[in-house]
Symmetry: C2
Subunit: 686 residues, 2 copies
């Protein structure tokens, strides 16, 4: 069975094939690849050059409106941007700060004049900027930042101020060395009223790079990864900026200090502002999947060449990927990566629909935000787990920097906690699921307890999470006549995954119901008691949605290629991923009567068999990722291991043929033992 | 309930309290702590100074025999050595190479004259050396190394040679910069016979540091961690060494080339030689547990100070460790670390018994080797998981190098694949379990299939793994009258964990039985099909043994302190760990009828409750680890977070008291809504 990787690549790259090709080609741009082990100052400069090189391609203009030279192309830009991980994760993240966060905030929160003044220079990489949201004392709880921007009508200025140490802006990319300006998130105070968090354009350095008066910059120094990104801290000592530096799309201040906003509710306004910044989460979902693909590409190619320990033949060592355990380490990771990639394609499509204005209804926005939060949380964790498995699967070679696995994992580590801590993001998803459930059942006062669930979503809890099938039971597909083959039924997999989400949401809602009638302290405690369940429910939901994306893509492919061997392989990926998810929560499925014990026992062996079958096609499956050695850049994925193995095998082959080749003592030993046994048996016969 | 951490510390440190105190005090030695972010050349030099500083303390002389100035103290030395992780993992590993591997190989494989010539200078850090075992082409399969040492009777020399690229010695600590000599493992060939792998003392550099003729050194350059250790490669081009440079305890060559050995079987000889090097695995088991302790110490202290999101009170943010999810992330990790620490104490005791000669029977040695292999595999993985959870639990702060979590994880990463790849080590354990089972049942020809299980243990498969209780069923403890409280019965936990191991071993043996009568190719395939089960069986066994160590220590403590609050806390740790292990394989326990569905449902909530209770005593539980801020050295574990939080809270307290304090728009908004509602309701009433 010959598998055509290009056919599979078309599925993975989906609607963004040309954007991804563009992003992958960036690796050939001068400055795109940097020496990750260079001294800090050098690698920061190199990363800046890479960031500017991206600006010079014109790519960051894509999401801009046509009147500013853009194409209103959001998803395509993000798809290309994600692929920069293959060039340099540091360049990718610094570019993300510059174009996505700094430029994006100006685009989505600023007015037309501000766009002309700052957005185009930012998108060209000429005006270097920071995105100053997080503070030492407040990470995920952005609404509680301590920085203030108080309006002074006498001078028509805002006074930006850091009132205490914990309000210092922290982990800010571009801050330590390069930013000339920052979009600063601060509590807007005018006429004695705090209107909540708004964004301000604050110059921080002169063109020559000198820090401006009143601004204090500290360097975060060495980090766990992303060494090329100059993270740092900003503190402001009553820094004055013109009134017109407020990015005022969702809230403006008149010269006399009067505040006005197109959105009446301060809570809704806040979440609308933050919602415009969802691109960061969308792109991390994709970028982490690119990281996982690269890791698997390296580890699987190595596993197809590397040999260790002899097998049936004394002189023939076994290729790593022929070991069943090795298959079991890498094949489920491969299937999961396919699910993440295909779910991400759906996310990109939603993103484009909302941001192009095709459908920017509240419902569409909120579904996008929920899915971006949940998908990002799981795929960033998956990338870390997969890269670690890949690094260990390559043994000591995996630990050497030149083989890239440790570097990729190191750089992607922070994904789990930035652009929203994963734990917080899953709570946001869980809460929205609860809201949906409440809306459907109309008997659950969840709004009253919502504020005790510590997420950004304090206001929006009631809307669609896309769980259209909740309520369908597995009875339809799970009959007693189910045979061994049926364990691979897609409908069964979906029913099991779906019924788990449904049951968990119902349990959660039931547990929380009394909170609505409780005093605050008790209600908060009850919600807290259910926090773990809330998060696990969100995880189950995201797992379901991603599996569904994989399944949908599989079915579409099967319809187009009913007899193709690629369809068989694709189905194996779908089944392996589905059964792996069920296996992870096997206890649950049995405990809640969804799966009989006898059938549950089939799952492990079925997973083993699927792994073995997929391993036979592992090469085309990673070729489908679309990377070349210029992207992998690992010594062990270059074919060098096969050369070395061939050289060693040829050496032994020739050596064995020589008359003076030393005989193994263990062979002599075995012969002696045999002879002694014979002699003994002869003497006994006499 | 006030918990006395010193009482718990005495349990954790066990018989090695003074040795551990000594190891912890090394942090105050000049040179012990190094700048982990310095340029490569600098950090290598600093690491060498730290390694020499350890030599100057005289510690590395401890394991030597009294006639060489030592005290025959093996376990105490290892216990102190493990604690060096708190000073610098790079210094620890470089010292491990110098004193444990290089010195240890000379001690255990060399003769008295060699001890005088090389061992004492090595133990003093004067003669710097490498341990050159691994090759590019052979990691865990040491028996297959390609380097040869061919005896030349004319000159009475061995010719050490690297015949092809894959036979180059690789990942060798001290090789890139500092080693003057190396213990090189090579196939000993004399008189036309290959006697298998032996160790040779090979000078590689002059005293001045110049590489000797015929030796090629390459630098491994940057790695995933342990930046201070100068890993590199050695290749030998027919390098001649005197006959007396063979470390000849287990095999010697007479001047005329005649080979002799005290151990007749070449296989047994090989494993005896390797067995003397078990110290490396023992010390990694302990060192990884030190790493996990430090991570938890940092993350838990931070979680006790850090606040995020308001709870019941609008103005009061909640401390991280009060969140149930946060408890669930850190408390099971704490309990697991206790289990690992207490199991490690048992391992140290076995190590001392065997290496002091008190009981160095084959049985004692083999049990030690099995447990060192299994314990090291699981505790090194645990350390990585725990350090990652700790890093994420500290959010962005966890990613900054100065908070140490990323550095510790990075440095310990390689533990999973060095001194025996964890996957290979677990196969070794699994195979020995099978051997035991075969020996007990006497009807299973496992010897015949053993060679297809690719581990170092090709010869020894039949001996004691210490599973004395296998065969006991859980019927004794698991009665239908079991109530909710009984889910916390230690006997039940043990019976569940034990019966799982027993069932898995029996299943494995049953699956493999046909292999003995199969042709080689089929037998190898059958063994391969069961590889995953073999490894999971080994894991289950090690989990059981470690839980038993925790349980034994708990029961001994309870006997001594029946009424102490520390006993209550200790029991919670035991139960949390036991139930977490059962929860991980919940599907199995239900599927195989060990646990009813109803009872299985109690496990999750019981774990949640135990986490909450333990979180209340989290501080004394980490204080029990015995580290000070000089060991943690994380900014966030210094108390600075509390200072910042206090400052911010005081700021808001004072601000709220001021008349001109801006009122929140959301408060005004809520009041307006309320008023409008009232007005509406009044107009409706009319």
């Amino acid at each position: 069975m010959t598998i055509d990787p290009t056919l599979l690549r078309a599925v993975l790259d989906g609607d963004y094939a040309s954007a991804r090709a563009e992003g992958r080609s960036f690796v050939r741009q001068p400055g795109a690849v940097i020496d990750e082990e260079a001294p800090l100052a050098e690698i920061r400069d190199a990363t800046l050059r890479g960031t500017r090189a991206l600006g010079e391609t014109g790519q960051p203009l894509l999401p801009l409106p046509p009147e500013l030279g853009g194409e209103d192309e959001h998803a395509g830009y993000v798809a290309a941007f994600e692929e920069l991980v293959a060039s340099s994760p540091s360049v990718q993240i610094k570019a993300g700060v510059q174009y996505g966060l700094f430029g994006g905030a100006i685009q989505h929160l600023g007015n037309a004049e501000q766009h002309r003044a700052w957005l185009v220079p930012a998108a060209r990489g000429e005006l270097l900027g920071s995105f100053a949201m997080t503070e030492i004392g407040h990470g995920s709880d952005v609404a509680a930042v301590g920085t203030t921007a108080t309006y002074d009508p006498d001078t028509e200025e805002f006074v930006v101020h850091t009132p205490f140490r914990a309000a210092t802006k922290e982990y800010i990319g571009n801050a330590a060395a390069h930013a000339r300006a920052a979009v600063v998130f601060a509590q807007l105070v005018t006429r004695g009223v705090n209107h909540g968090v708004h964004a301000f354009f604050v110059p921080v350095r002169t063109d020559a790079g000198e820090v401006l008066p009143g601004v204090t910059v500290e360097d975060d120094g060495a980090k766990g990864g992303l060494r090329g990104v100059d993270n740092g801290r900003f503190a402001f000592d009553s820094v004055r900026i013109p009134r017109t530096h407020l990015l005022d799309r969702y809230g403006s201040v008149a010269p006399d200090g009067t505040y006005s906003s197109p959105i009446e509710s301060p809570g809704r306004r806040f979440f609308t502002m933050l919602g415009t910044l969802v691109q960061g989460r969308v792109s991390l979902d994709g970028a982490s999947t690119v990281g996982a693909k690269l890791g698997l590409d390296i580890a699987i190619r190595y596993a197809l060449e590397r040999r260790q320990f002899t097998g049936a033949k004394e002189t023939e060592e076994v290729v790593l990927l022929d070991y069943r355990r090795h298959q079991r380490r890498l094949m489920p990771a491969l299937a999961r990566t396919w699910a993440n990639a295909l779910a991400h394609n759906d996310l990109l499509a939603s993103f484009q629909t909302v941001f192009s204005g095709e459908d920017d209804s509240d419902e569409a926005r909120q579904l996008l935000e929920t899915q971006a939060a949940g998908y990002k949380a799981l795929s960033t964790w998956d990338a870390l787990d997969i890269l670690q498995e890949c690094r260990e699967a390559c043994g000591g070679a995996g630990f050497i920097a030149e083989n890239r696995l440790v570097g990729l994992r190191r750089d992607l580590d922070v994904y789990a906690t930035f652009e929203g801590d994963n734990t917080v993001l899953l709570q946001l998803v869980g809460k929205r699921l609860l809201g949906d459930y409440a809306a459907e059942l109309r008997h659950l006062d969840i709004g009253g307890v919502a504020r005790f669930i510590g997420t950004q979503a304090a206001e929006h809890s009631l809307y669609r999470s896309g769980m259209a099938n909740v309520g369908r039971t597995i009875g339809d597909v799970f009959t007693p006549a189910l045979n061994a083959k049926r364990i691979r039924s897609g409908k069964l997999q979906e029913a099991l995954l779906e019924s788990r989400v449904e049951a968990m949401v119902a349990e959660l809602a039931g547990n929380l119901r009394p909170a609505a009638r409780m005093p605050a302290e008790k209600a908060a405690a009850l919600v807290n008691e259910n926090q773990n369940l809330l998060i696990e429910t969100a995880r189950a939901y995201v797992e379901l949605r991603k599996w569904q994306a994989l399944d949908r893509a599989f079915r579409a492919f099967r319809d187009d290629h009913p007899e193709a061997p690629e369809t068989t392989v694709f189905r194996r990926l779908r089944d392996l991923h589905g059964l792996s998810l069920i296996d992870e929560h096997l206890g649950w499925h049995i405990m809640y009567g969804r799966l009989s014990m006898n059938r549950a026992r089939q799952i492990g062996p079925t997973i083993d068999r699927l792994c073995a079958k997929l391993a036979a096609d592992a090469l085309p499956l990673v070729e489908a990722f679309g990377y070349g050695q210029e992207h992998r850049r690992a010594t062990i994925s270059s074919g060098i291991e096969k050369e070395r193995q061939d050289e060693a095998r040829e050496y032994y082959r020739q050596a064995r043929a020589r008359a003076d080749h030393p005989v193994d003592e263990k062979v002599l030993h075995a012969e002696r033992k045999k002879a002694a046994k014979k002699a003994k048996s002869r003497s006994t016969q006499r």
